[in-house]
């Protein structure tokens, strides 16, 4: 590890809907009480499932201050982390009422700023938006963007519509305007079946299927022309698994050659566009078992500029102490741990007053 690493995916636990009450208008607080709505935890991460916590990464259930202390010691101090980006996964995307979803997203962002960012200078955060209504989401980006500690906009990989669709472009316009990458994190709104052939029977099956969702989302972003329309937009695929990427680009390249007149705005090879606009966080890295395969795979990826260091704290994505795959050269480590993130997130380079 290199001191000052930038961890691009950690998950602070929101203690519950009540923690948001100070940041919610009264009308919603009343409704939650009357409707007995106390929680909005997504099915994607059952809190006791094997994936939920690494040993030694288990934030306690104490006060906000105690939780922050756990986060410091378990997520930051352990790896000598210089900066970490908080991606708050809470059920905003599950909600069908778009006004309610937007209100919860707003409250989460205020909670992040007041309860975490104000207390720990190593923390940064993604702006949580409710993509159910891109107009409201863009307004929320405008509202939060002034706070330079928000470095990214957070969306889920399985939403209501493919991410390239123009429906979502107001979000991208706002993000690009403020130099904020779009972070696409594993997870679902559960408004569509979580596999392309219907609902699976098991959580672990659904989790494996996140990688397939990332593949088709990458296709959507490329084919719909998002990178043509928003030339300085960056997209970070978070908790995607990574190793599906070469095969996906090879397949997309083949069909682009045959079908490009269907998407004439895609005037460069998909691989070029993706190399310029897309980055992926490291964990989980669905690595091959043998070191020589790993070397070949690294060649297939073709660049050490794709990857941004992440631990996915507190999720259990790796065993042992090292969140890095073996065999990285010092130069590659410097890029993956620090330089790539600084090149991807303009706001990480800024000094925060």
């Amino acid at each position: 590890m290199i001191p000052g690493a930038i961890d691009c995916d950690i998950h602070p636990a929101l203690p519950g809907l009540k923690a948001l009450y100070p940041y919610l208008p009264e009308i919603w607080r009343d409704l939650f009480q009357d409707q007995a709505m106390h929680e909005l935890v997504s099915n994607s991460y059952p809190p006791a499932a094997p994936l939920a916590f690494r040993p030694g990464s288990q934030p306690g259930n104490g006060s906000q201050a105690a939780q922050l202390a756990d986060l410091r010691s378990q997520a930051l101090d352990t790896w000598g982390t210089g900066l970490a980006i908080c991606n708050c996964l809470y059920g905003v995307q599950l909600v069908f009422n778009e006004d309610l979803a937007a209100a919860i997203a707003r409250a989460i962002n205020d909670w992040l700023a007041r309860e975490l960012l104000d207390h720990e200078p190593r923390l940064r955060a993604s702006i949580v938006v409710a993509p159910q209504n891109p107009g409201l989401a863009a307004e929320e980006i405008e509202r939060c963007a002034e706070d330079r500690r928000f470095v990214q906009v957070l969306m889920l990989v399985m939403g209501d519509m493919p991410l390239g669709r123009r429906f979502y472009w107001p979000i991208y316009a706002a993000a690009e305007r403020h130099g904020l990458p779009i972070g696409v994190h594993a997870g679902s709104s559960y408004h569509n079946p979580t596999t392309p052939t219907g609902w699976p029977s098991y959580h672990s099956e659904e989790y494996v299927n996140q990688a397939q969702a990332f593949q088709t989302q990458l296709g959507s972003l490329v084919c719909e022309g998002v990178f043509k329309k928003f030339p300085s937009l960056r997209v970070v695929l978070i908790e995607s698994g990574v190793t599906w990427l070469p095969a996906t680009l090879w397949r997309l390249a083949k069909f682009w050659r045959g079908l490009r007149r269907e998407v004439p705005w895609v005037d460069r090879t998909p691989a070029e566009l993706v190399r310029e606009h897309v980055r992926l966080t490291l964990q989980p890295f669905d690595a091959p078992p043998r070191p020589e395969q790993f070397e070949r795979l690294w060649e297939h990826l073709g660049s050490d500029e794709w990857l941004l260091f992440s631990t996915d704290y507190p999720h259990r994505q790796f065993d042992g102490d090292s969140p890095l795959p073996p065999g990285l050269s010092p130069a590659a480590m410097q890029k993956i741990l620090i330089d790539n993130a600084r090149a991807t997130y303009p706001r990480l380079v800024e000094a925060i007053p």
Partner: protein, 370 residues
């Protein structure tokens, strides 16, 4: 990385040197649905004339996403008289089977596969009729061609009955399903199909495509055919994930699955991902006994088309190595537009041994052909 991308390097035609090959994906098509009427009860002929087949998409005729070419066919594959590509045996022989020295061709009739038709009785009747049609019009007329048992896959009991009916008929090489079913294909409701296939000694081919009702991606419907084509690979990964985790392979040790027209370069990464999640999978589904990659390695064969095109061609060799030279089987997808030409499609040179396995011997072993 700047690597120039060009057309795949042709393996010299002389390298194949006229070697007899097996093509695991040939698409015969009726020139019109009426071609199958001789094998259909009058009731269903009338039904089709009146209503047509109701499927899980909105277009009365044609596909939900317009294809890149008419009927997704090669522009040079239209037989004289403007009959449909794939509808004329003589033309197929002259354009494909003879010049490419196809020793065995597996017929996959998916124009459309009747298993996706909503009306359960019509679906079953059309599957039976098209199975008869495949024999009468194709395999009986050219001994190089073997048919696939079309089954009404959304009604597994009826599907199993159709498989039982065809068991022992050497005209059939496999059972044929599509990948996009109403629910993931590993789920128990589909297990009678696998039981029957094992009973009949047939592998189960799963061809990409179809309309099962779920959106093409787990984030909804994309806009373009190019995305549909990308999505089929992801969908087939979901199918295998389902078959592993739902315990299909654990339950049926003799089950052999052939994935058709989904490419293959994604397979190693899928296996690594499944193994990476073994701790969760095992905790949730304790009936599974072996690493997911072991189930895949034992039960799954992949046909090659559409072969992925890496910028650095040799990368494809790594993938083939990782999948295993005994698990890849060549396919052209004749007469469709993204046809892989046996003499040109491979971006890399193979050893003589690899070449004969890929182009012939693996399929020969799977289909028990001579």
């Amino acid at each position: 990385m700047n690597v120039s991308t060009s057309q795949p390097m042709p393996i010299a035609r002389e390298m194949l040197a006229g070697m007899a090959i097996i093509d695991c994906d040939i698409h015969p098509a009726p020139n019109s649905i009426k071609d199958v009427y001789p094998w259909l009860e009058p009731r269903w002929r009338k039904h089709l004339d009146t209503f047509g087949p109701l499927r899980r998409h909105g277009c009365l005729t044609g596909p939900a996403y317009p294809k890149g070419t008419p009927g997704a066919n090669r522009r040079d594959a239209w037989p004289p008289g403007h009959r449909k590509p794939g509808s004329d045996l003589g033309f197929m022989q002259a354009q494909h089977l003879d010049p490419n020295n196809v020793q065995l061709g597996i017929l996959n009739m998916i124009s459309p596969h009747p298993g996706g038709i909503q009306n359960p009785d019509l679906s079953a009747a059309l599957c039976t009729a098209f199975n008869d049609w495949q024999i009468a019009e194709w395999s009986a007329k050219d001994a190089r061609l073997k048919a696939s048992v079309l089954v009404p896959y959304e009604q597994p009991a009826a599907a199993a009955a159709e498989i039982d009916r065809r068991a022992g008929d050497a005209s059939f090489a496999q059972v044929l399903l599509l990948s996009r079913t109403a629910e993931p294909l590993g789920q128990r409701r589909y297990w009678p199909i696998y039981e029957a296939a094992i009973r009949a000694g047939l592998p189960v081919g799963i061809h990409a495509f179809g309309y099962g009702g779920a959106p093409l991606t787990s984030a909804g419907w994309p806009s373009f055919y190019i995305e549909e084509m990308l999505g089929h690979a992801a969908c087939c990964q979901s199918v295998l994930t389902s078959m592993v985790i739902e315990g299909t392979f654990e339950r049926f040790p003799a089950l052999r699955v052939i994935l058709i027209e989904s490419g293959f370069a994604w397979m190693p990464s899928l296996a690594w991902r499944l193994d990476k999640n073994w701790r969760s999978i095992r905790e949730e589904v304790p009936t599974l006994k072996r690493l997911p990659s072991e189930y895949l390695r034992q039960h799954v064969w992949l046909t090659t088309q559409p072969i992925e095109e890496p910028e650095v061609r040799a990368h494809l060799l790594d993938i083939m190595e990782w999948i295993g030279w005994d698990r890849l089987m060549f396919a052209t997808d004749y007469p469709h537009w993204d046809y892989d030409d046996p003499a040109r499609c491979l971006p890399v040179r193979l050893s003589a041994d690899q070449q004969s396995r890929l182009f012939r011997d693996n399929a020969r072993a799977v289909f028990g052909a001579n």
